[in-house]
Assembly symmetry: C2
Homo-oligomer: 322 residues x 2
């Protein structure tokens, strides 16, 4: 008799995706959209439209799903389902959990977007089967998450996994968090964009502005980065190499402290560039391992579920909460 | 009838201590000695003398103990009890576990000295009752250990907890491990000694050489450090403040990644200087917390068992293995 099905929503500041998936992570239906941030209500209506779209795509009625999970760019209270703060959405105190529960009549679980994506990679992707894994997600910031005994580690205050805010040089650049020298201040996509623009402002030649113009991008997206690297742009090569160096130091720190089986590097840049991005990170990280690892037991790899880490992870969150 | 009793041995490169303790961490007998490193056999004979001494002090026959635990400055194979390498003892492939088992007829467990000390602090000291705790031990090097759900975390390869080798600046000083900029290269007692001697070599005035001469020390021990600080020695104050700064960054990294309830700072320097040492570390660490902690839920404290963290921790290891 029919397997159980779950809805997973990956809610981002720039785009969102809903999937209907079974327990094995098979996507039965999906729907995505750019995120309308004109008002919380507009965004919520859009989330509902994507869920309905994914259900339609899967040819399922809403009554056939067991639960809904959402990965959101902000902290939701696990008890109330209220998102207190999601700066990338412009949200304050939005009761997304109760709204979706009212509408669909199933349990709704909301988690942090990066931690949910890592849950997805652990259930179905690059960290599948690992008891001990760490995710490092490179995007606007650098997020992270720890998995021990196959479960997300929340820490004593629910604050574990903020790997992007480990300091790599206390005299380093100012981070989005206001402190200096965090890994995020060196190696997030935002920091790489800053470093490219600083070099251009200093008179260096680069194809980046042309690519952004041509593709009508106001930000240096990961696809812009990929094109610039393909065009052998020296500025981009330098900046990416520096970010890889810092991410390698960070991954080395994580291994020395936490000793995971696998580190999954995710987010847009890792997804677009794949091994080209992760290879040098791995090399630097391995040079920092205190305990030698000649058999390469510690894997450092890019995420394996392409655009689906977040939505499939949210379906896992849904299942755990059902 | 009668509680169970365990022997715990804290085996260090400069001194060793054996205790007989009950399950509650009460020391019933003890014996200690400077470590004779003239040969492995000499050291082993001495360990046996301390165990016998602690038993005599407790007025107990060897047949009345359940098990023996040892915290050793090197890695022992948990299955064979052989210490493959203990540089501070000059040992290679010493079967300490089997030797003690043959002699006393009880199970013998051998663990890493720092991790065993953290186990002691968790069972009876500053981390008592914590589900999630981290120890940072400042000595010749900087060791560490993680406790989750009340148990030592070994990691996927048994290599977790090497907090002293997190990089704080990749262009920093060379570490004992051969890499650059590890926390240990900034803030171990050895590194502090190097920094004091460099300042003196550069012509700065300091009472440290006089104190070392007067106390017949060839190393800048933690008692020398305490005296120099009490004498308001500017060089020592500078060097300790710099080490505290780096240990604070390190503790902040640990909190952002691992989110423990408590970080215990141990080792000779923390033990001698107490809150004078830990206070500034706490202040720097808290300035780096990504998740604000207005209620000071995360405690950063010095070890609570004085000289007994290691030996009592070894008695816990013994009990777990009995």
């Amino acid at each position: 008799m029919g397997k159980k099905r779950y809805v997973g929503v990956d809610l981002g500041g720039t785009s969102m995706m809903a999937v209907v998936a079974n327990e094995k992570g098979k996507v039965l239906g999906e729907s995505d959209s750019a995120t309308d941030r004109s008002s919380p209500q507009a965004t919520i209506d859009q989330i509902i439209a994507q869920i309905d779209g994914a259900l339609a795509d899967a040819k399922l009625k809403a009554s056939k799903i067991e639960a809904i999970g959402v990965g959101a760019p902000g902290a939701a209270d696990p008890k109330t389902g209220v998102i207190a703060k999601a700066p990338n959405l412009g949200w304050t105190d939005v009761p997304l959990g109760p709204i979706l529960e009212d509408r669909y009549g199933v349990p709704v679980a909301i988690g942090n977007d990066v931690q949910v994506a890592i849950l997805g990679e652990h259930a179905f992707g690059a960290a599948k089967g690992a008891k001990r894994a760490v995710g490092i997600w490179v995007g606007t910031g650098i997020g992270g998450g720890l998995i021990a005994d196959g479960e997300l580690e929340r820490g004593a205050r629910g604050a574990a996994g903020e790997i992007g805010h480990m300091v790599l040089d206390e005299n380093g650049p100012v981070c989005g968090c206001g402190r200096k020298g965090c890994a995020e201040a060196y190696a997030s996509r935002t920091s790489m964009e800053r470093d490219v623009m600083l070099r251009i402002a200093a008179g260096r030649a680069s194809v980046v502005p042309d690519i952004m113009k041509e593709r009508q991008k106001t930000r240096m997206t990961s696809s812009v980065m990929k094109r610039a690297l393909a065009a052998n742009d020296e500025v981009m090569k330098e900046v990416v190499a520096a970010a890889q160096r810092y991410l390698g130091l960070l991954a080395g720190n994580v291994v020395n402290m936490y000793d995971p089986e696998v580190i999954v590097i995710g987010g847009g840049v890792a997804q677009r560039l794949g091994e080209e991005f992760v290879g040098p990170i791995r090399e630097t990280a391995r040079s920092r391992f205190l305990r030698p690892d000649p058999d390469e037991r510690v894997r450092i790899v890019h995420a394996g579920l392409d655009d689906y880490s977040g939505a499939l992870g949210a379906s896992v969150l849904a299942r755990r909460n059902a």
